[in-house]
């Protein structure tokens, strides 16, 4: 007769609950018959389990049924939830795009503003100096200018005016580079600079319009931010409407039941 190990007790416990395989069960039953200590341990376990199974059940202090107030009942989300989630995400994306576009527009506009301010000066100051100055952008020494499309919109009329005034047609085709100044021309550069190289005959037609530089070239209106914004608003409104309809339907359903 040996003291049962924990492994034995585990087997006995599982045996009580019928959790042993047929082979394990047969083997354990044989051992129990031979070993009185195992039989006593099994009896103790069985008694402990029986006592636990006789634990008195307490009567409930109250019912635990729920009221809508207790649950702060929220209607289940409509089946369009994934779509609504996507709509929210899209709306956010569009908002960021719109905001970003506007900000970028402001930044580039801000960069062009000094050019605008300098443009009239170009027509006067460089006009006196002669032809080569005709296409020079209004930059100072040690300055790098990477022109943007807006830059050319502003500067081109000034160049036209200069070309017409001083007749420096040949010089006007020179790249607009001064001392220590680098200008990286782009495709737009040539497009916009071409009128400057035009002989005075054509230039005369252009010249009167060049006085107020901003009026000469109509700025293209960027409609995309408004389109995006409108689309986002429509999506948000649709989401809200669907949600509201769902909530109302749910309230009708629950309200009727709990008021009756």
């Amino acid at each position: 007769m040996t003291t049962p190990s924990f492994r034995d007790m585990e087997q006995l416990s599982a045996f009580l609950d019928g959790q042993l395989s047929q082979v394990e069960k047969t083997r354990l039953e044989a051992r129990i018959q031979l070993d009185p200590a195992l039989a006593a341990a099994l009896a103790d376990l069985r008694q402990a389990r029986a006592i636990l199974r006789h634990t008195p059940k307490r009567r409930l202090p109250c019912n635990f049924t729920l009221t809508p107030k207790m649950t702060r009942l929220r209607p289940p989300l409509p089946r369009l939830v994934p779509a609504l989630s996507w709509a929210s995400a899209t709306a956010l994306l569009l908002f960021i795009l719109t905001l970003g576009t506007n900000l970028l527009g402001q930044i580039s506009f801000g960069a062009a503003a000094p050019m605008m301010a300098a443009a009239p000066m170009t027509s006067e100051g460089y006009g006196v100096g002669g032809g080569p100055a005709a296409t020079q952008p209004p930059v100072t020494d040690n300055t790098q200018v990477i022109p943007t499309p807006e830059t050319f919109v502003m500067t081109a009329p000034a160049a036209t005016l200069s070309g017409e005034t001083r007749g420096g047609g040949a010089a006007a085709t020179q790249p607009p580079v001064t001392d220590n100044t680098q200008v990286i021309p782009t495709a737009e550069t040539f497009v916009m600079m071409a009128p400057a190289a035009t002989p005075s005959g054509e230039a005369r037609l252009v010249a009167p319009a060049a006085a107020p530089a901003t009026k000469a070239t109509p700025e293209p209106v960027n409609l995309w931010p408004y389109i995006w914004l409108g689309l986002a608003a429509v999506l948000v409104a649709a989401a809200l409407l669907i949600r509201r309809a769902s909530v109302q339907a749910f309230r009708r359903k629950v309200g009727v039941k709990h008021n009756s």
Binding site: S13, A14, L45, T55, T65, L66, P75, P76
Partner: protein, 202 residues
């Protein structure tokens, strides 16, 4: 009771359907909480909290034993309660015996059919069991409450505590061993009728 239909309706927000389920399971939920926590008020709070949580999380129920799913919710509520209790220990207002044990208030035993002797037997039995249960580590206590007091099978217990069957088997054996030792010290207090029944069972 068409349980699957009730669950489906409850998942769509039908509180009446859910309350039918509550009525069916509140007894086992409350008694499980009571045996784990050992306090009526805490057990009632945990049960109510468990039903509220269950209703809110009902969409996460993916079939299987609804009883096990519900008991898992109440077990978690009990663990939360025990953690809170550990953080903010309280002094019981109940009178204590000379040994420092709390005197049970027998108002819950107001069984109109039970004789005074039977009531006393039940008090003593429950007192002994609860005392021994509270000496067990929480994990062991939960397993033994679910398996031996509430009568869940190993699979359901494993689903409730989210542990493998081997762990359940081992924890149950350890818990029973400790309970056996503990209950032996209360042997004289156990009801005579119960002792006779046990001898027949052996």
């Amino acid at each position: 009771m068409d349980e699957p239909a009730l669950i489906r309706n409850a998942q769509h927000g039908d509180l009446d359907a859910f309350n039918t389920l509550v009525l069916a399971y509140q007894d086992i939920v409350y008694n499980t909480a009571l045996r784990i926590l050992g306090d009526e008020d805490l057990a009632a709070d945990a049960s109510q909290e468990a039903f509220i949580s269950a209703f809110r999380a009902l969409n996460s129920y993916r079939g299987g034993s609804f009883r096990a799913w519900l008991l898992r919710t109440v077990t978690n509520a009990c663990y939360d309660e025990l953690r809170r209790k550990r953080r903010r220990p309280t002094t019981p207002l109940e009178p204590e015996t000379g040994d420092g044990d709390e005197v049970e208030t027998p108002r819950w035993l107001a069984d109109p059919n039970a004789s005074p002797e039977e009531q006393l037997d039940q008090v003593e039995l429950e007192h002994a069991i609860q005392h021994c249960l509270e000496n067990l580590p929480t994990d062991f206590r939960t397993v033994v409450v679910l398996a031996d007091i509430q009568g869940l099978d190993y699979t359901e217990v494993a689903a409730v505590v989210k542990k493998p069957l081997g762990t359940i088997k081992s924890r149950l054996a350890r818990a029973r061993l400790r309970l056996r030792e503990c209950l032996q010290s209360f042997r004289e207090l156990l009801p005579a009728a119960f002792r006779l029944e046990e001898k027949r069972g052996l």
